[in-house]
Amino acid sequence: MLVLESFGPSPVTAGSAAFRATLEREYDRPVDVHHATVDAARFADPAHEAQLVDFLKSRYQGKLDLVAPMLSPAAEFMSRHPDLFGDTPVVVAGISLRRIPPGLDTPATTYVAARGDPAGHIENVLRLLPDTRRIVMVFGASKFERFSSALARKQFQQFAGRVDFDWLEGLSMDETSARVAALSQGSVVVLANLVADGTGLALDKDEGVRRLYAVAKVPIFGYFESSLGKGIVGGRLYPDVTLGVEGARLAIRILKGEASNKITPVVLEENAPVYDWRELHRFGIPEDRLPPGSEVRYRQLTVWEAYRWHIAAAIALLLLQAVLISGLILQAARRRRLEAERKRTEAELLHTRAELAHMTRVFTLGELSASLAHELNQPLTAILSNAQAAQRFISAGGVTDLQEVSEILGDIVEDNKRAGEVIRRVRSLVKKEGLDAEPLDMARAVREVVLLLHSDAVLRNVSVSLEAEPALPAVLGDRIQLQQVTLNLLLNAFDAVKESNASERAVVLKVEPDGKDMLKVAVSDSGHGLAGDCVDQVFDAFYTTKPNGLGMGLSISRSIVEAHRGRLWAENNPGRGTTFFFTVPVAPQ
């Protein structure tokens, strides 16, 4: 097979490259492909053409299965020499429909053609960039290009008044580049053909667009689909690549045995408009200006478009984390607030409990006022009677018995101390103090309470006994509050035995160790005992069985004991009556 290039020999055009690639890809048998070129960009003179004809004739006549002229110059060359290869089938891979030369119409020849629409390119420019004032047309200097240029000038007259044209043609590539680089806003470049510059230098298939793109500050529009992606904005492009592909397919059919005269020439439908997203974006051309059915290629996905799911997942993760962290922070803050609140409440509770305990003590002592008066009246009676007896002895006969007077004074001093003790005990219980834990002798504290209630016991006809083991360890506690508990239990015991016969009204207190670390105080009465379900109920606030009771005593007592890390409970005795126990921790050594 001979591929007859229009330009080159090297580099080949985009269509030619596509032809070769498709042939290799879609035809499974080896093809010996030869190349020749009419080299239209350099050699357009008849003398050269004659030499080429001779050369081709001598080298290839009768030896080819297929001749494939690429693009118009080669096709035109073939049309001028229709007998060059005899009956050898000819596939023209790419020709403009308007430029099909009459001599090409032989039975051996078939072709792929496309419709070129130069004016359509200008309309495309004006549609995308309506503010364009100047369109700079760039053409090379080859005969082929001069022909194209002339055609364009004629066609573009229709745009007179809408936009001005500048024609850059026949210039060197450097000069063309410089002129394009100097363009400013309002101008656009339309690169038509650049296969050879004004110096006669043939240009690589993409060289023109590449070099202009490197310097241009304005949009570049091109004719060919092969230029898309290399710097042109796009439009309804001439299908130079597709012509190559379709030409190769026709060639394959012929190589496979189809007669070329049976193959209808292929005329490509107009390409759908296609654009380079990067250029649209670069020049701020909104996509809604593109004609309907446009395809936008080279879309550079924004980070969001490219990594939408990653980003969404990351954001979701961050949000989740943020929510989690916020939650944790809130929780921590809430915990701190609750902790502070708890401490404040605890402090208030302690204070309230101390207040309540104090009030209860005052109330209890108020209740005890009769027996306290009795307790005070005994020594006062003795003092008064002793003093008056002494007065009478003295006034009756002078100081006759100093021993007697000394005894009287001794008794007066003792009774005075006794009365003072009663007052001290009462005052110490009425004292308003918070929990003040210190090592103390529990048995002694209990004994003081028993003494304080001595008169009450006498008045109620209750016998009270205290059994304390000797040498008990000190406990850690608040004396006043623990005495309050004892006082309360003792008074309850007195009440419990109220109904019993006088001879059976007995209350026994015991102070003894409870394990290694606690001391236990037990207050047993000989009353009727508690009903089974009351053993715990009695500790509820406002629970009382007494007509004048507050129902606070045991509740406060339990809170006091628990504040000491001890325990207060009640058990019915095996025989009769009830025993209330409370424990208090032993003070550390």
Partner: protein, 135 residues
């Protein structure tokens, strides 16, 4: 200071003092002695009853009883003494109107509230003693 009975007693009258408070007992014994009587003290009702019916019984002319005492109360003791004709004076540090009425109804001569002035005690004692003893 009223009268001088302490200096001229025709007969040494015996005043029994029953009180569980030893100090009060001692003080009242001195007081009655300073008034010219003889005082005998007892720490409780049973103690006193035992002395009355012992092998060498004492014969008091008047009994001064505390109301509130462990074991036997003054009121119970009064009941036990009912019929003996012994004049009884109650002394109490705890003035209970119910007990006062009960005691006086049962024949007590007086009901004194501790602490009491010696003048009141003297008058009360004499008032109690002026009554003739039962035959």
């Amino acid at each position: 200071m009223p009268g001088a009975p302490a200096t001229t007693p025709r007969k040494q009258l015996i005043i029994a003092i029953v009180d569980d408070d030893a100090s009060v007992c001692r003080a009242l014994e001195r007081l009655v002695r300073s008034l010219g009587f003889e005082g005998a003290t007892f720490s409780g009702g049973q103690h006193f009853l035992d002395a009355l019916s012992g092998p060498v019984p004492i014969l008091p002319d008047c009994a001064v009883l505390d109301i509130h005492m462990p074991g036997m109360t003054g009121i119970e003791l009064q009941q036990r003494l009912a019929g003996t004709g012994l004049p009884i004076v109650f002394i109490t540090a705890h003035d209970d109107p119910v007990l006062r009425k009960q005691a006086l109804t049962a024949g007590a001569k007086a009901f004194l509230r501790k602490p009491f002035d010696d003048e009141l005690f003297v008058e009360t004692l004499y008032a109690a003693l002026s009554r003739p003893r039962d035959p």
